[in-house]
Symmetry: C2
Subunit: 160 residues, 2 copies
DNA sequence: AAAGAAATGTCAGCTTTGTTGACACAATTC
DNA sequence: GAATTGTGTCAACAAAGCTGACATTTCTTT
């Protein structure tokens, strides 16, 4: 029962019972547990390479959108450039990401994964992808489309 | 287009295309964006009370399972007791959570939210719950059951 | 051409939230 | 009585976020 919640209905006060009617605690918690375990998947690999979850996100998105600029990345991750600079520099120095001066706008730095970066991104994504595939298979046919639409609806719309 | 990804198919190398076949990058990213924006909802309230997301999680789970012990909470959150001690102490000192010596095992500390704690937990959960309800409504009838099963399947099973 | 704005990099310092290791104390169990 | 368990606490450290300030290069606007 580690990491789960017990049935606690016998403890419920009237206030709690009323909240239960209007607030979707169940999905809120399931999201927490699902995401916690989902992000835990790549930890073993990250530890070996000496990187953290911040590095994971950077390698992932640069690998997914080759040629994206620093500004693009900041916008995707929603962190400050000082925060990004730290992990990005480490990834460049370690040879997982390289920068190319923008061909039109020479102020920009287009980001690309190296061969090593691609391998790392793939290795990190693999256990997560397997977890998703297993979960979708267990949930039943048609689950992927529903889940995908739900997740799209959960995130903020384009005009952030 | 802030925080989103462009169509980058024209940049794809053969390696990337092969990965696309076997790795579910799409759901991986949607989970990231959905969870990022979902956890951003309570930020305004947290800033006002001077608490962080760690406090949020503690108040939430204690409110959901009144009488849970410190060990239960550690098991749920999967953090160390030293890390928990910091935020728990602040929540107790601020009057949002109170401790009661265990009736059977007097070493245990049963945790309860105060009236203020319940109000805080509810206020924090409200925008998240609204986001979920809206997303489910847009996704269509029957979405809740599918999403719920998917999330249950995504988390690690009971024997962590 | 000069002035301004934009994209990026960097320095310095701070905060939150996680970690390890060590130790203390009271209460329970063997 | 000894060992174990549940909890608290001290100290130090690490990851990853933040703000503010300032420099450089390059583009855009006037």
């Amino acid at each position: 029962m580690a990491g789960q919640l017990r049935d606690n209905s016998q403890y419920m006060t009237d206030v709690t019972r009323k909240e239960e009617d209007t607030i979707d605690f169940e999905i809120i918690e399931l999201l927490f547990f699902a995401y916690r375990d989902f992000t835990g998947d790549p930890d073993a690999i990250l530890e070996k390479s000496g990187f953290g979850r911040a590095h994971h996100r950077v390698v992932h998105f640069v690998n997914r959108e080759p040629g994206m600029t620093v500004a693009d990345l900041l916008d995707t991750l929603k962190i400050t450039k000082q925060s990004l600079a730290r992990v990005l520099k480490q990834l460049i120095d370690s040879g997982y990401i390289r920068q190319v001066t923008g061909p039109e706008d020479r102020r920009q730095r287009m980001l690309y994964t190296t061969k090593e970066g691609q391998a790392l991104a793939r290795a990190l994504a693999e256990p997560q992808s397997r977890r998703i595939a297993d979960a979708l298979a267990k949930t039943g046919p048609g689950a992927r489309e529903i889940v995908k639409r739900f997740l799209v609806n959960m995130k903020n719309s384009a005009a952030d």
